[in-house]
Symmetry: C2
Subunit: 356 residues, 2 copies
Amino acid sequence: MDTRWAIFGTGGISAKFVSGLRHAKGAKPQLVVSRSAESGRRFAQAFGIPEVAEGYDSVTAASPFDVAYIATPPSEHARHAIACIEAGKAVLIEKPFASSVAEARRIADAARAQGVFCMEAMWTRFNPAARRLRDLIRDGAIGEVRQAHGAFCFTNKPDAANTSFDPQRGGGALAQLGVYPISLLHWLFGAPEGVEAFGRIGDTGVEEDAAISLRFAGGAVATVNTSLRALGDNGLRIGGTHGSIAFEGPIFRPYGVRVQRMAPRRKGSDTGLGRKALLREQGLPQKLSQWHGLLTRSGKVDRQLFAGNGYHYQVEEVGRCLAAGLQESPEMTLADSIAVMETMDTVRERIGGQGK
Amino acid sequence: MDTRWAIFGTGGISAKFVSGLRHAKGAKPQLVVSRSAESGRRFAQAFGIPEVAEGYDSVTAASPFDVAYIATPPSEHARHAIACIEAGKAVLIEKPFASSVAEARRIADAARAQGVFCMEAMWTRFNPAARRLRDLIRDGAIGEVRQAHGAFCFTNKPDAANTSFDPQRGGGALAQLGVYPISLLHWLFGAPEGVEAFGRIGDTGVEEDAAISLRFAGGAVATVNTSLRALGDNGLRIGGTHGSIAFEGPIFRPYGVRVQRMAPRRKGSDTGLGRKALLREQGLPQKLSQWHGLLTRSGKVDRQLFAGNGYHYQVEEVGRCLAAGLQESPEMTLADSIAVMETMDTVRERIGGQGK
């Protein structure tokens, strides 16, 4: 029998999620849970979902679903997730996992106490391009990892009525966007040993921008840019002693990786006085590289195209874990979710005093 | 009469510089000054330079040149530059300007006292793509600036015999590579108000990697990655409330800018339940964007191609300043060079305690 899903919340992210769910094997959306019956019915109709429940407190152990997908505002995650957990239901919680480390711990404790499955919906970790990137790094494709950069920035209109800009509902650039690169870096390299950041608090009281430096065990360092107000490169790139790997496509939906292998060079070897060196500086090779952007876009692309929007990978992961009787996904553990919240809290602390 | 140049040092950077000098109007290389007469002669022969002087102390007021280009190791910059300045010669000093803030101040004081022209050879500031980038930002092409990211990283073989890896001669990732993005950010936004960094000190005693966060007056924030051991994206990108501007080509030699304009969006507006939204998530538009990388490479390219390797722009700037009787270039002042050294010193202080 298919795993039956309940969708908590009828916003844009729920629409994307259910749209992705269609591509997942062994899963079907069964129930929409919404604050208002009307928006629940409209959502159910748009996606052909059989049942609608009005009010988040209406859920009981007898409700007709196996897993709840919690996509209410971050400030409500703990309340809605714990209610489901106590009803014995598995939960998949939209990122950020909660609006504070304390709430994240309460959710994790409840899931462990009840012995039910609980996972953060950091779906990028299950994307084939991300898996490929991690495998290539593990296989030594770029040598020893030294550097990383990730960004997730968009230009939005500040609006206090909007969850992203509302501190009461868990808004801010970090919770809405920065969590993607931060979580991917945690996944690849573990929790950082050092966290520093600069940022700006906007008029509605959330951090609208952040520039973050991180240091990981072993000495690799990384930077992260995130913004609710400006556009960024929105990529992920890892540099090692023998090359680099970068996502093809945006960090929130990569569809491949670009690998550039490069043997460490001896400084000065390419700056001789010979005819070849001069040609490279002044002649046709220099012109060609200008025209074609060869210097910045070289490397081999390994495309990992997928059908649909990619959200189905995390849905299938939940199905696999439930079938195996696991209470956590080994790829996205509760400890990881809490550690990511801790990193984000440290960033917010650093930014806190820096004013508007 | 053409401005006569003396070239101090015969390494790779001098070769590139003289190669670029050929494209400058009103300038000619007249003299090579080298520690060894032999390498001086070899260099002079390769580039058709008439005269050679052995030993850096052989330079006097009577030496047959107007401007000295100082490309000896950073640890020697102060000594060689001040000797020239005291002989009444103008100087162009390869970056980093000196190996400490104290030495940078001594050079600036000497130039001001003697009333001779002195400038750091941060040639990227005179590159047409960099000028275009700054003009577009000033003209409001991307709205209010919020975010920036710059990187300059390469995979080198650690080697204590190499200036880059030698702390005694002013090596390290910052001095050799990081100075490019840091200086460009100073040029665009002024000296940062806040500087934080993580990094790693290598076996030869220099910082091999750094991940830097910066905060500027007005609240814009930036990250910088630099490394002697790993490959990076090596670009420069500025994000604003109405779009972004990025270099086309590497940060050390950009040949254009890519402008992406974007009106701030209202969150949620693109995540509806309609047929169009679903198509974008699941259908052909999603597939096309995967195939063509449209999401990451959109925007309008403004190419600023140039003949030669681009070093001639700074040479012509020196000529213009000398003709106008200026002692500093308004685009690359001594105060700027000192401020950049201060930022780099702060980064090194932060990294200092972090170990290998």
